[in-house]
């Protein structure tokens, strides 16, 4: 039952959650951050760290944000644009560095002007 990052993170990417995550499982896309559901340990440290309240447990996401549960998974399970392989479980965002691209769902969102 991992935590997921929802729409409010898009184009905000405050990154406070990345500092809090004890297993370093929050990865940086181009416009949004993503929790790796394979690496998340359900501790909840990220949730209060987010200044825009974008983080929820997957079974408690706000109404209308359900698609982000599957989308967080997709970021790791499907090959992202420009990559031949899915990210899978890189084992830590700090060592891996920013991924720089987003899922289709996130990339398709209009930028806040």
């Amino acid at each position: 039952m991992p935590y997921v990052i929802t729409e409010a993170c898009i184009d905000v990417m405050d990154r406070s959650c990345m500092d809090e995550c004890p297993v370093d499982c929050i990865y940086e896309g181009g416009r949004k951050l993503y929790v790796n559901p394979f690496e998340c340990i359900d501790c909840g440290a990220c949730e209060p760290a987010c200044p825009v309240e974008a983080i929820s447990q997957d079974r408690a996401v706000p109404d209308g944000q359900e698609e982000f549960v599957a989308d967080n998974l997709r970021f790791f399970e499907e090959a992202l644009p420009g990559r031949a392989e899915p990210l899978g479980q890189p084992g830590g965002a700090a060592d891996f560095g920013p991924v720089g691209v987003d899922t289709e769902l996130v990339a398709s969102r209009r930028r806040a002007s």
Binding site: M1, D42, Q57
Partner: protein, 435 residues
């Protein structure tokens, strides 16, 4: 270990999350260092192994990250070595250029009400150690042959205890609790678990996810006793955590019981005033909305927080239960004590979650690194040389991995997964290379 002359040696006492996040930050600096992680137990991970509830297997997976520094050639595990017993604080200071105490807070805070010393009243630390297979609790003869248990507390530990008591035998078999603990839990006749909470619903310290977990027990209903003042409107709460907790609590209030075999009662605004006897505990007297009543209970577990234990050689503030410090540097009589540091609960008090230790450990590590920089220490003996002169069975990292591998196979015969080894002698035996 190849000890390059002049390479500073750092000892970290305690291999729980605070100690190991400190180590991770020390190693991440890239500064040349030797780090020894000393633990009084033969096993690493402290409260991850012995505090985190057995049904929180995912959370225990944080060990995957905590173990990383031991893959480096310059970090060693020195298990089954207790400072103050096998090695004095003075010897430790003579063996290392910097010493970080991250040995936690191992005492329960007391309720401070009459009857607290009756047989059948346990502190949460004792109860949690028992079900988690802590070697200090390996010999404890605990029986759960009562129908009602009262748990006092408004934090995650109280929830952990209630959940473990509320789980079915088959749910518990999926955890890694030692066989002896499982047998006691399987024989449990506990049907009612009362959680007594002084605070109101908006002021509890439960992590929302952990409170929500009460809805997921296979055969336990949750009964809410809100104290007459209601739960409060979640949407009016500014804090997200409060909002989520209130939502979960409201769902308890509106969900009809399933007629489950066990019931977990949440009593809000309920202040325990006395543990009733005579002799062994028979119940807990509490006050709610000006009315005094007695909840019968054959076992009372107090989960109202922990206190640090004074460490030999370190200043200690009894009132705070911590070692006075400035960003991790130990402070005595208004001045920092050279080469001496603290991290984790000993440093900031017993609060926060696993993740809290990451920035906390990084802060202490930064102090250590800044103080060591450019200051090669004098030649010092290696701890293994010091310990070799006494009859001390150390457990190194390879030894721990042997024990861990053994635990991985221990449940097979019973159709279980990984199962913990409980007693210290067996731990030492399975960790030794010559089993």
């Amino acid at each position: 270990m190849n000890t390059s002359p002049g390479t500073p040696r750092v000892a970290v006492v305690g291999s729980g999350p605070s100690g190991l996040y400190t180590v991770a930050a020390l190693v991440a600096s890239g500064q040349p260092l030797h780090v020894d992680v000393i633990d009084r137990l033969p096993t690493p991970y402290g409260l991850i192994r012995y505090g985190v509830a057995p049904d929180h297997a995912r959370m225990k997976a944080v060990t995957r990250v905590l173990a990383k520094p031991f893959a480096q050639g310059n970090v060693r595990f020195v298990g089954n070595v207790e400072i103050g017993r096998d090695l004095t604080h003075h010897e430790l200071m003579a063996t290392y250029d910097a010493v970080v105490y991250a040995s936690g807070a191992e005492r329960d805070r007391r309720l401070g009400i009459p009857g607290e010393d009756r047989p059948g009243v346990l502190g949460s630390a004792e109860f949690v150690r028992w079900y988690n297979g802590h070697p200090d609790a390996a010999a404890a003869e605990l029986s759960l042959d009562m129908e009602r248990v009262a748990v006092v507390g408004a934090g995650n530990v109280a929830l952990d205890i209630a959940r473990v008591l509320g789980r079915t035998a088959s749910e518990l078999r999926e955890t890694d609790v030692p066989a002896r603990v499982l047998a006691t839990l399987e024989r449990s006749t506990v049907r009612e678990v009362h959680i007594l909470i002084r605070r109101g619903p908006a002021d509890v310290k439960f992590t929302p996810a952990e409170l929500y977990q009460l809805t997921e027990l296979a055969d336990a209903d949750v009964i809410l006793h809100d104290g007459g003042d209601g739960i409060g409107d979640p949407e009016l709460a500014e804090d997200k955590r409060v909002r989520l907790n209130l939502k979960t609590l409201r769902s308890f209030a509106t969900t009809p019981g399933r007629g489950a075999r066990r019931r977990i009662h949440l009593w809000f605004r309920t202040v325990p005033v006395e543990i009733a006897g005579p002799g062994r505990v028979a119940g807990i007297v509490a006050e709610r909305a000006g009315e005094r009543f007695t909840l019968p209970a054959g076992l009372v577990v107090t989960a109202v927080g922990f206190r640090g234990v004074p460490v030999d050689g370190l200043p200690f503030s009894e009132s705070a239960g911590t070692v006075p410090n400035d960003a991790g540097r130990v402070v005595a009589d208004g001045a920092t004590v050279p080469r001496l540091y603290v991290a984790g609960w000993l440093k900031r008090g017993p609060s926060g979650i696993i993740g809290t230790n990451k920035p906390d450990g990084a802060e202490t590590a930064a102090a250590v690194l800044a103080d060591l920089a450019g200051r090669p220490g004098p030649a010092r003996p290696d701890i293994t040389e010091v310990l070799a002169q006494r009859d001390q069975r150390r457990v190194d990292w390879a030894g721990w991995l042997r024990l861990e591998a053994h635990e991985g196979t221990l449940g097979i015969a019973d159709g279980r997964g990984r199962v913990k080894v409980h007693d210290r002698e067996s731990m030492l035996r399975y960790s030794s290379a010559t089993v």
